[in-house]
Structure formats: structure tokens, C-alpha cells
């Protein structure tokens, strides 16, 4: 029981963190069809901006300023870089953002050095939210989860319940018609991209204080964020949330389970033989826990290529 409760708790908070980072990517892809490879770099940029600002003006100022700065950078990218390659199709947009990711990483190294920087949460937030089975549960994990939940709610309400949301969705479905009705589509797209980038920036600012802020953080989380978006169904906000939680829970539970193929053979009494063979048969689930998201992606792509809640096929 203790194992199940703790694993669920850890899995849900980690899943929410993944959602926080992937929300912006989902938004940009869902509304604009641009697969933004630089998204994880925006996340890293957010952490570094928050670090730089917070060392002078305090933690909360950093959290506020980071999304704004990263959002502006995102808008600039959408305004000045993407239109140039837009005519050549998605592949070129992808390549452009890929190049951008490399450049952002090297720029970060240039300004902040190769080593992790000392970006910490304020001491006031460093306490246990509650005790569970004798272990303190860090408040900051709850904080990350709360930010992710708020992010989801606000985004979802914005897109489905407000006029702005209608315009944005119209711009995605029927750009010409929306334009004919007097909406400035390029501006709409610029703001969508800016918002997506700002969300990544916010995620970086919040998560960077919990995880180390280093020049590799983009690459490290970037891959898994793509998995989230693909599993959720490219562009579906709800799908991303479900996928994040699934991946969080799967990885969390896998760590505690010493399951191996040899263990399965025990059922039919061949366990000892399987253990003597070794190799793949004795590989424990916990030692490949980081691979589980990718296995999940593979299965989802095979069974439901559009993703869990995707519409495009």
C-alpha cells in the first residue's frame, strides 16, 4: 500500500511537470502546425533568465520575468524567422527550429558557462508539505503540480470559452476565412507562438529551481516532451495531460518493481533456468525505467497512430 501511494504521488507530480513543459509545444503544434524543435531550448532559456533575474530581484520576479522574455523571443522567432521558410513546408520549419535549438544551447554556454548554475528555490518554499509513511513530501513538488494544473485550466478555458479562443481556433482551421472576417492572422499566429514559448519559459523558471539548471537540460527533457506530445495526439491539450500523467505513473511504478522476464518464467516453474541463461531474461524493469515512455510511444503509434486524443490521422 505504501509503495502504491508513494509511487502514485511521485508519478502524478512528475507527470504534471511533463505536462507543464509540453503544454506550450502542444499549443503551438495544435494551433499552427509547427513542430517546434526549439521548444525545450525555450524551457532552458526560461530557467536561465529566471536565474539571472532572481539573483538580483528575487525568486518571484524571476518567475514573472522569465515567461515574458522567452515569450518575446518566441514572437521574434515567429515574426522574423519562420515566415521565411514557411512556404517550403513543415520539414523546413522543423529544421529551422532544430538549428535554433543548437544556437540557443551554445549561446547559453557562452554566457553562463558549461557548468550547472546555482539556481535555487527560496528557503521559504523548501519545506515538507506533509509527512507520508515517515518521509517528508517536498512542498515544491506540489507547487510544480499546481502550476501545471492552473496552466491547463487557463489554457483550456481560454481556447474553448473565450472570443480569443474562437479566433485562434478559426485561424487554425480556416485561415483565409478568418482573415476575410477581419482578423489579423499573422498577429494571431505570432501571439500563439509567443504564448507557447512563454509557457515553456514559465516551466523552465519553475522547474529549473527544482532540477539543476544546466546547458543540457533542454536536450534531456526535450526528447521526453516530444514523446508526451506524440502519445497525447499531436496538438491535443487534453491528450498531452493524459499522456504526461501516464508516463509519470508508468516510470514511477516501474522503478519499484523488480520484474524481469525470468520472474514470469517462475509461474511455469522455469524461473531458475531463465536466471541461469541471464542476459535479457534477467533485466529488471527498474533498470530500463527511462525507456518506458518510448515503449509507450511505440505501442500508441502502432495501435492508434493519431495518438490518444489526436484528431489528425
Amino acid at each position: 500500500m505504501e509503495f502504491a501511494i508513494i509511487s502514485t504521488l511521485n508519478g502524478v507530480t512528475y507527470g504534471l511537470l511533463l505536462f507543464m513543459v509540453s503544454a506550450g509545444l502542444t499549443l503551438i503544434f495544435g494551433m499552427m502546425g509547427v513542430l517546434n524543435f526549439a521548444h525545450a531550448s525555450f524551457y532552458m532559456l526560461g530557467a536561465y533568465v529566471a536565474y539571472a533575474v532572481s539573483s538580483i530581484f528575487g525568486f518571484w520576479t524571476g518567475i514573472l520575468v522569465a515567461p515574458i522574455v522567452v515569450g518575446l523571443v518566441g514572437m521574434a522567432v515567429e515574426r522574423f524567422l519562420l515566415p521565411r521558410v514557411h512556404a517550403h513546408g513543415h520539414a523546413h520549419e522543423l529544421l529551422l527550429t532544430f538549428g535554433l535549438a543548437l544556437i540557443i544551447e551554445e549561446l547559453i554556454k557562452l554566457f553562463f558557462g558549461d557548468f550547472p548554475v546555482n539556481y535555487q528555490m527560496p528557503e521559504a518554499l523548501r519545506f515538507s508539505a506533509f509527512e507520508i509513511f515517515g518521509t517528508g513530501y517536498p512542498f515544491y513538488r506540489m507547487f510544480i503540480g499546481a502550476v501545471a494544473v492552473i496552466m491547463f485550466t487557463v489554457l483550456w478555458l481560454l481556447l474553448t470559452r473565450t472570443r480569443t479562443g474562437i479566433v485562434v481556433r478559426a485561424a487554425e482551421r480556416l485561415p483565409q476565412m478568418a482573415e476575410a472576417l477581419g482578423h489579423n492572422i499573422p498577429i494571431v499566429f505570432m501571439f500563439v507562438f509567443g504564448t507557447g514559448a512563454a509557457l515553456a519559459g514559465l516551466a523552465g523558471a519553475v522547474a529549473g529551481a527544482f532540477y539543476p539548471t544546466n546547458p543540457n537540460m533542454g536536450i534531456e527533457l526535450g526528447v521526453i516532451v516530444f514523446v508526451v506530445v506524440v502519445v497525447g495526439g499531436l496538438g491535443s491539450l487534453k491528450g498531452s495531460l493524459v499522456a504526461s500523467l501516464l508516463i509519470g505513473l508508468f516510470s514511477s511504478f516501474a522503478v519499484g518493481l523488480d520484474w524481469s522476464i525470468a520472474g514470469m518464467f517462475d509461474v511455469v516453474g522455469l524461473g531458475d533456468w531463465a536466471r541461469s541463461v541471464g542476459g535479457l531474461l534477467t533485466l529488471e524493469l527498474s533498470s530500463v525505467s527511462a525507456t518506458i515512455p518510448f515503449a509507450l510511444m511505440l505501442i500508441v503509434l502502432l495501435v492508434r497512430p493519431a495518438g490518444l486524443m489526436g484528431e489528425r490521422n
Partner: protein, 413 residues
């Protein structure tokens, strides 16, 4: 056209080279290191230390009547790129290859060097391995032209166990959490092997993916349920930092016995969580009896030697020692003679003598065990914390037996 131009340039180059050799042939060192990509931070430090060491050789008159030349090659953190850069180094006439970050790359380079030496008798190369700690490099893959100037898992773990036991910090239950590749498995095996000597029971062990895990909370929950006193880990980079942070966040009261806690940024990022944890490594500034070496290094490079810089400098010092016994009188450089001289060299490092074991070319070297404390003599990462030396284990006590798998083929004398 390009081919012709290239040929002409080669001819021209050969011409000028010919003119130069009438004086002397310089010794060429090539650093094939991770100077871009995710391991840049470590690669840079190796390169800086090697340059410092070469500068010292040159300040003392160079070798063979010429300054020693050093070239940096960027392997971008990958073995295939390293193989590419190795070929370039061969073309540049490099005599000694130096590399440190990553055992995988070291494995590639030692094979490349071995094959090159087989195919090009008389034009041998030496591989000075500064950081590849995988056991197989001095086991299955051991060869005459490879020299390892760092510790291995058994040396670090045995040192940790001895020193921690002496200061009553070890406890009776140990947990091993390591990365799922050669190094992590070596550490895990070493922790198991040292159990009876240290008087502890291994209550649990786990291997996990290398630098892919973002959330260590589930692993901490698993460690907690085993209730260990000490957690042994060979983790480095993010895997160590995230593990320690997650442990600190959960308020778990264990002592970490680590091997790479001195990687820059770790102490600052872990904060208070780092206090009281142990590390075994090749060198620490606080362990030197006099300030001479750290101060000299700072004067030359602008900072005290950190992480891998200390022992890398010693490796170059050992090379200098070996070179001082040779004299090619300005003529051709015989790399095999340099290798033989390296075998016999003893370098007096500030922590004690370092020598080469002839059977497998592992260096017999002192291991430093330190503990993270507040108000240390050499503060780390701009914090008020740093390492305090617990014990310096002399080389002959730290060394482990030669692996049976090492079948070294020596050059025909």
C-alpha cells in the same frame, strides 16, 4: 583542381617540414576531448590541465630540442567522432593521444591506437587515458600503448569503505545505486566485493538508465524502504545531482559515498543537502600538505585545480619525468622508448608517488577520501562549503590485483 592544389600544398608542407627537421623533430600531443556537446564542461577541464602540463614541460626546455606541440581535437562527446579525429591526429603526425571524458570514447581510442600500432610499426602512438575508468580498459582491452592515469571503481570504493569505517560513518547496511553501463556495474561489483572487509551488508542495489531520468523520487522511495545507512553511487553529472536533491527533499537520512561529487556545480546545486557526504577521488586541493601546487596552478590558469584537473596535471608531470630520462638527440622520436620510460617512471605528486604497474599499465596512485563540510579551506562553486580531507590512502594500499583477462603483448625488445 582541388586535388592538385591539395597535393601542391602537401608538397609545400613537406618541404617546409623537411627544412624544420634538419633542426629537430618536435613531440606532438593530441587532445581528443569532448569540447562541444553535453560533456563540454568536463572535456574543457581535461584540455586545460593538459595544456598547463605541456606548458611546464616546455618551460623546462621542451623535448628533443623543440617545444612540445599540443593540438586540441573536438570529439563532440561521441566515439565515432573520436575515431574520425583520431585519423586526423594520425595524419597530423601526433605521437601521444590524450583523452579523459567517457570510458566509451577511451574504449574506441585504445582500439584505434592498438590497430594503428599493429599496422604501422615504427610509427607507434601512445594513448594516455586520463579518465576512462572502465575495468575492461586494463582487462580485456589492455595493451602495451595504453596507460591509465586515474583510479578505477575498486580503488575508489575500497578507499571509501576503509576511510568511512575508520571515522565510524559507514554503518552496517549499504545500498548501491548506479548507472546501467560498464562503470556503474563496476562500482556495484566493487561495493559487493568490499562488503566483508567493511563489515556491512548490501541491503539493496539498483541500476538505472544513464542521464535520462528526470525524477529520482521513485528511486529514493525504493532506497528508503531498504533502510540503509550508506548509499554508494558512482553516478555523475545530473544523475548524481538529481539523486542527492531528491534524497534531500524527501528528508532521508543517509550518508552518500560518491565518486564524482566534486564535479563543478554539484555542491552549489545540492546546497545543504551535500553536507556530510563522502567522496573518493584522485586529488583534492585540501589534501595537499603544502599549497604549492594549487597556488602554482592558479597563478598559471587563474583558478585552483578542480575536478579532473589535478590528476591530469600529474599525468603530464609523469610524462615529463619519463621524457627526462630519454634523449633522441634531436633525431627521430621513438614512441616505444617513451612508453618503456613511462612504465619505469615514478612521479612524486603532492599526495604521494604515482607509478605504472607493468602488467596492465594501471597507475598505482594515492586515493583521497573527503567529506563535504562548511567553511572548507578551498570552498567549492563559490559557496561556503567544500571538501575536507578524511584520509589519503597511499597507492600500494589502494591498488587491486591485475585482472586475469589482461594479456598484454609487449613490443619485441
Amino acid at each position: 583542381m582541388t586535388k592538385f592544389a591539395f597535393g601542391a600544398a602537401m608538397a609545400l608542407g613537406a618541404g617546409t617540414l623537411g627544412a624544420a627537421t634538419s633542426q629537430a623533430e618536435p613531440l606532438k600531443i593530441g587532445i581528443i576531448e569532448s569540447l562541444s556537446g553535453s560533456q563540454t564542461s568536463t572535456g574543457r577541464l581535461y584540455a586545460r590541465a593538459v595544456k598547463y602540463g605541456v606548458d611546464r614541460i616546455n618551460a623546462a626546455g621542451g623535448f628533443n630540442g623543440e617545444p612540445v606541440q599540443v593540438t586540441e581535437y573536438d570529439n563532440a562527446g561521441g566515439a565515432s567522432e573520436a575515431a574520425d579525429k583520431f585519423r586526423q591526429a594520425v595524419a597530423d603526425g601526433v605521437n601521444i593521444i590524450i583523452q579523459g571524458a567517457s570510458s566509451a570514447i577511451a574504449g574506441q581510442l585504445t582500439e584505434d591506437v592498438r590497430k594503428h600500432n599493429l599496422r604501422n610499426p615504427g610509427k607507434e602512438m601512445i594513448f594516455m587515458n586520463l579518465g576512462g575508468e572502465a575495468m575492461e580498459l586494463t582487462g580485456d582491452k589492455c595493451q602495451f600503448y595504453h596507460f591509465r592515469f586515474t583510479t578505477t571503481a575498486p580503488m575508489r570504493i575500497t578507499a571509501l569503505v576503509n576511510a568511512m569505517k575508520k571515522s565510524d560513518a559507514l554503518g552496517s547496511k549499504a545500498y548501491a545505486i548506479n548507472q546501467n553501463y560498464s562503470w556503474g556495474k563496476d562500482v556495484q561489483a566493487a561495493v559487493e566485493a568490499a562488503a566483508s572487509e567493511g563489515g556491512y551488508e548490501v541491503v539493496g542495489e539498483v541500476l538505472h538508465d544513464v542521464n535520462k531520468i528526470q525524477d529520482f523520487a521513485p528511486f529514493v522511495a525504493r532506497i528508503k524502504s531498504a533502510e540503509p545507512d550508506t548509499v554508494f553511487t558512482g553516478n555523475w553529472s545530473n544523475d548524481l545531482l538529481l539523486l542527492m536533491k531528491a534524497t534531500g527533499d524527501a528528508g532521508l537520512d543517509v550518508t552518500f559515498a560518491t565518486t564524482f561529487l566534486d564535479q563543478p556545480g554539484n555542491i552549489a546545486n545540492a546546497g545543504q543537502t551535500a553536507l556530510g557526504h563522502y567522496i573518493a577521488n584522485n586529488y583534492d586541493n585540501a589534501a595537499t600538505p603544502t599549497n604549492e601546487f594549487p597556488e602554482a596552478y592558479k597563478a598559471a590558469t587563474g583558478a585552483y585545480p578542480i575536478f579532473v584537473e589535478g590528476h591530469s596535471t600529474f599525468a603530464l608531470g609523469q610524462l615529463q619525468e619519463a621524457l627526462s630520462t630519454l634523449d633522441f638527440k634531436g633525431g627521430d622520436i621513438n614512441v616505444t622508448d617513451i612508453a618503456l620510460a613511462l612504465e619505469n617512471s615514478v612521479y612524486q605528486s603532492p599526495l604521494g608517488p604515482i607509478s605504472v604497474r607493468k602488467e596492465d599499465h594501471q597507475t598505482i596512485r594515492p586515493v583521497v577520501v573527503s567529506k563535504v563540510v562548511k567553511g572548507a579551506k578551498y570552498p567549492a562553486d563559490g559557496t561556503d562549503m567544500g571538501f575536507e580531507t578524511v584520509e589519503v590512502i597511499p597507492g600500494e594500499k589502494a591498488i587491486y590485483p591485475v585482472q586475469d583477462s589482461c594479456q598484454m603483448k609487449r613490443p619485441n625488445a
